[in-house]
């Protein structure tokens, strides 16, 4: 059996490998190649060296600004989403009636697409700001907090579900032992519950972190970068670079490559750090 498996391993891996190549590997390599080219579509590229990478930083300051904006946004949302999601999960794993209904309600915003969410919140926020003769485009901070609220609304429910599952799996023996030993609620929470759900925290941090960095639809629908590119996040900046000037497709592509490396680096180092904090339950 072992022997046969070894013999046919390549054969059985082949379909998956072909799909992986067509749908992932080839586009990615081609994308990398294109970032060194001037092109209007993928069939007419000409090599220009590092030109695109230089232009990405020198032509205007929007890319750098969008990086800092995205970073700040990600920090704020990673903290807020995980804190809110965890608190909700704590409440909804208690023995109170209606927890399932509440779980469903909190999870629902996640089922709505980003563009629609953007529009919904644009209408809500503009409706509120209309009282003060302003719109979400009036000031950068309105757009920023609008995005934060939107992102929380969409993601808290999802992360909550992950935390709920983890909390239900925390060993009742340990909790019981702790309570017999006279441990208080918060002591138990920080010494037993949180270390036990550390793998879920890793997953949730990873997801919120990358979601924050990759945010596009919501940004496009809510503010589209206005006023004057100040609420433009990295992904949207890459997108608008593509269409901002004639012959700037390659610059957009170069930014996309930088973006990929950046997100990968941040996500990997985060995984590394939180993994080391996990404990065997």
């Amino acid at each position: 059996m072992e022997k046969t498996l070894k013999k046919y391993f390549a054969l059985f891996a082949l379909p998956g490998l072909i799909c992986f190549c067509i749908a992932f590997l080839i586009p990615m390599v081609w994308g990398l190649v294109l970032s060194f080219c001037e092109f209007t579509n993928i069939t007419n590229a000409t090599f220009v060296g590092l030109d695109n990478y230089i232009k990405a930083f020198t032509v205007d300051g929007y890319f750098i600004h969008s990086f800092w904006f995205t970073l700040l946004f990600t920090i704020v949302t990673v903290v807020s989403i995980n804190v809110f999601a965890f608190i909700l999960a704590l409440f909804l794993t208690r023995d109170v009636p209606g927890t399932n209904t509440f779980r469903t309600i909190f999870f629902m915003p996640n089922l709505i697409g980003g563009i629609v969410l953007g529009w919904i919140w644009q209408v809500i926020i503009n409706g509120v700001l209309a009282k003060y003769d302003a719109t979400i485009l009036s000031q950068t901070r309105y757009g920023f907090w609008g995005l934060v609220v939107l992102m929380n609304w969409q993601n808290v429910g999802y992360m909550m579900v992950i935390y709920v599952a983890a909390l239900q799996n925390v060993s009742s023996d340990m909790l019981e032992a702790a309570s017999i030993d006279g441990s208080g609620y918060f002591n138990t929470l920080f010494r037993i519950t949180i270390p036990s759900v550390a793998p879920s925290i890793t997953i949730c941090l990873f997801m919120t972190l990358t979601n924050g960095f990759k945010l596009f639809d919501q940004n496009l629908a809510l503010t589209a970068g206005a006023p004057n590119h100040t609420t433009e996040m990295l992904a949207l900046n890459i997108f608008s670079t593509f269409y901002s000037r004639i012959g700037f497709e390659g610059v957009g592509q170069a930014k996309a490559v930088i973006f990929t490396l950046l997100v990968a680096a941040i996500a990997i180092s985060q995984l590394f750090v939180t993994r080391s904090k996990e404990v065997e339950s």
Partner: protein
Amino acid sequence: MKKTLGLILIVMLAVAGPLAAQGASEKASTPEVYFLNFKPEIATVYTDTVAPAFEAETGIKLKVVTAASNQYATTLKSEMATSNPPVIFQTNGPVGLQGSRTDVAPLENTEFYKILADKSMALSIDGHVAAIPYAVEGYGIIYNQAIMNKYFATAGAKATSMDQIKDFATLKAVVEDMTAKKSQLGIKGVFASTSMAPGNDWRWQTHLFNVPLYQEFADKSSPADATLTGLAAKTFDFTYADQYKQLFDLYLNNSTTAPGLVGSKSVDDSMAEFALGQAAMVQNGNWGASQILGVPGNKVADSDIKFLPLYMGLPGESGYGLCVGTENYLSINRHASAEAQANADKFLTWLFSSATGKKIVKEQLGFITPFNTFSESEMPSDPLAKQVVQWMNKDGVSSIPWTFSAIPSEQWKSDFGGALLQYIQGSTSWANVVKTAQDSWTKEAKIAGR
């Protein structure tokens, strides 16, 4: 044995894949003309009327895909990269043509080029005719004659007929007096909302801006060469910034919407306000006719929809008419098969010269066409298009050409539009807006290689 079977299976899989793909591409190679339409407002006319009529008369299939509003460049780029790219696509002027220079087929030997009345209107690149205009458009301030008549009848009116409004001073006096009497006139504001929602600021950063842009480059060369001079210009002074500001402020201060709230308004909102009689004036072009006549509950009679030029206080502006020009050019894809290219030519010639085609153009598409196949009586019947033709032929008035095709990049428009929004919201000064316009021009012109 098993090994052989495995090998056979792999070989079969490898062979079958491309075969299946080939089968699909054979099906697609029927002589179909794929037209990527730019104008969403008339998308259904193409699919419901034009395509069936063309197929019935010539047997050639026409596939029309319409890009969503403001998404043409995006859609074109992705469609061009597919194995079945559009055969006919739109180019929006000299700058846009630069972007698709490797895709455009030479058109000088086509029938479609032959029916173009003024050959100088076509765009050329690399020594070949590459884009042919198909619709001339005009814009200015659209006004509602019924509301204006109501105003002229009020006590102490600053004018008694539209003919008296021939410069900015009169326009301002009338508009401000109308604002004072707005409850009496039954309107929410004289001008419809100054739409500044993302993607909706083109009426200001491109169209309104065209007037000072034209005047500056006309001063620097001659009225006839303004656009060409602009296209080569490395710098831009914004000489007539004050005039631009005068009219822009007039729009803002006499509007249905408070300046702080314009960031949430779209062009559709503005057109609806005009159609519902909440505003007496709105700046837009003849393409907006469908947005007025098609609004449910439209209260404006066809005969009351008229045009006024964009008076902003330029010297000699009484002699200016509407801004008339085009950014609607069609190009044929060089990479399409020869047969598809020939069919594309057939389709365009059919649409603009056959009896059936011309009827559709006149009655449903509503284009003011630049082709010699159309006689005076075959011009479109919607009220705004008629007005454009009238203004074009008015004695002592000359139209302002669309000089905005000289704007070096889309980025310039977004920079200027962003600055305008900040000015409206009070977060930047007018001097900064002017500086943004100048600096961004210098930078973008350099990037564009001027």
